[in-house]
Symmetry: C2
Subunit: 310 residues, 2 copies
């Protein structure tokens, strides 16, 4: 039995495309309509069978829609919500897949204030360094987590339908307060992306960049995998969450200052202790991760995914 009759996906890329494919795969969706900036990308999504049709405008997209997923870079949220607002019908549930929540919620209060009972912000914790609908996969969310940050104004039935949609994609759903969400992900996701982008950018700009890259091995490969991520998406995340992110960066800079002083003073015992604490924490976390994911491969491998094989 379909959970969603007419699904509208705005931004049919890795995340929006994978959501559509996962629901299709489970026969939980009737019709999938795509809308977005790039006609070429929408046509590719249609050719790949990710969406059934391309909506020419929001009036047509929202006509009879019962579920909208906003999956474009978060910097577009405000403009998209403004464009949607005049055409939004009372029963339509609106959710999003943004990596930041406070900015999305601010736009919702500003642009969709008449519809707040059915605007349920969410964030699927999945992705790879690949982007675009050609990287989408029905399996992307399996064994992963989706964070939902319900609004006080939300109709509990709307929140429940958003939860059910993500569960149908194979994700487990947890609730968080938006402020906590943005602080936690600044630390464990946004900062690591920033650090990886920074390292690759700095090395790539050097005169001997080719020599350096030619000697880089598996440690560098994994450390910098996320530096291949979508630049616009990450620009938007970093700007939307810059307050928390600068706080995290500054805390990290404090750590690097400590490490630098230990190096300069040749303090081997404190350096080893620091590495030991990190190594133990990382090993413990890695073991728990393996227990939880069991046979589920995590997203984010170097291997190309062939959409035709899905």
């Amino acid at each position: 039995m379909p959970l969603i009759d007419k699904l509208v996906v705005c931004g049919v890329g890795l995340i929006g495309g994978s959501f559509a494919l996962a629901l299709r795969n489970k026969k939980k969706v009737g019709r999938v309509v795509g809308i977005g900036r790039s006609k070429e990308s929408l046509e590719r999504a249609q050719a790949l069978g990710v969406i059934d049709e391309i909506a020419p405008d929001w009036a047509s997209a929202l006509d009879g829609a019962d579920f909208v997923l906003l999956a474009m870079p978060v910097g577009q949220t405000d403009a998209v919500m403004e464009a949607m607002a005049p055409h939004l019908q009372a029963p339509t549930i609106v959710t999003d897949a943004g990596s930041t929540k406070r900015d999305v919620i601010t736009s919702a209060y500003h642009r969709l204030d008449a519809h707040l009972s059915r605007v349920v912000p969410a964030h699927p914790i999945a992705g790879t360094e690949k982007s675009g609908v050609q990287a989408a996969s029905a399996r992307l969310f399996r064994g992963k987590r989706t964070v939902v940050t319900p609004l006080p104004e939300n109709d509990p039935a709307a929140v429940e339908r958003v939860r059910k949609a993500w569960q149908a994609c194979g994700a487990s759903v947890v609730d968080m307060v938006p402020q906590d969400h943005d602080r936690v992900f600044a630390a464990v996701s946004h900062l690591p992306h920033l650090l990886a982008f920074g390292l690759v950018h700095e090395l790539a700009g050097r005169a001997n960049a080719e020599l350096l890259f030619s000697h880089a091995a598996s440690g560098f490969r994994d450390f910098t995998r996320i530096a291949a991520s979508h630049p616009e998406m990450w620009r938007d995340i970093c700007l939307a969450n810059r307050q928390a992110l600068v706080g995290e960066l500054d805390q990290y800079l404090g750590e690097l200052a400590l490490i630098r002083s230990l190096l300069l003073s040749g303090n081997g015992s404190r350096l080893e202790q620091l590495f030991e604490e990190a190594s133990q924490a990382r090993t413990k976390w890695g073991e728990e991760l393996m227990k939880n994911v069991t046979s589920q491969p995590m997203a984010g491998t170097e291997q190309a995914v062939n959409p035709a094989a899905r």
Copy 2:
């Protein structure tokens, strides 16, 4: 036909054990003798069939040895070379697997000055975040690179035998000047390890560490994999190469200062451009890497390797 009759491995861990296993696997070695600090680790190596016997001292180890691999943490090099020196026989080739080369070479000049024609420093570019002989694998070096940094005093035949031994393990061999080696690996290996150790250490020390780790996903997993590495080994590398490493760290801190200012001023277009340059460079490098390694899996996956299955 064996390339090496009696092989001595000092420090039978991940690297030393994998070297022995790879040569055994190709029937390129007669007898493998282990020596090291930890009796327990040597006994494990013997039980796993990585070494044939445990040498009680250097006199016995070096008696009739034709090839010695030093594979303990680089901080021990000077003391080990001092202990070896009185027992070293003229034909014995000595090489090492240290991640830094200038410190190893300084010790060689200091401790093995009568033997320099046969001391050939090298560095296999392979490893995982796992350590110890139980993580060793005959396949560790396949499709990888070993850097050899020959000394002007080296007998070319000795250099050639070291090259052949690493090639027998499946590695391709390149020559480098030691100073270049240490600078290049400070940038593409030692700094990323330091940054990963630092991030995990900083997060693990927080009151809400458990909450943070519980939300960390595949980006964090790969970024921090190397933070599970061997603390003593990395203390030694960081101290041995601290001059180059502090230089790299300072250059990186300059990059982070730039990124911080772009965040604070909300300069989205320059931030996106920086991310774009990094993303393009990393994507290009990743594609070249995949071409080169073809079907060779790179070391460093989360999966446990079962030594019994090798």
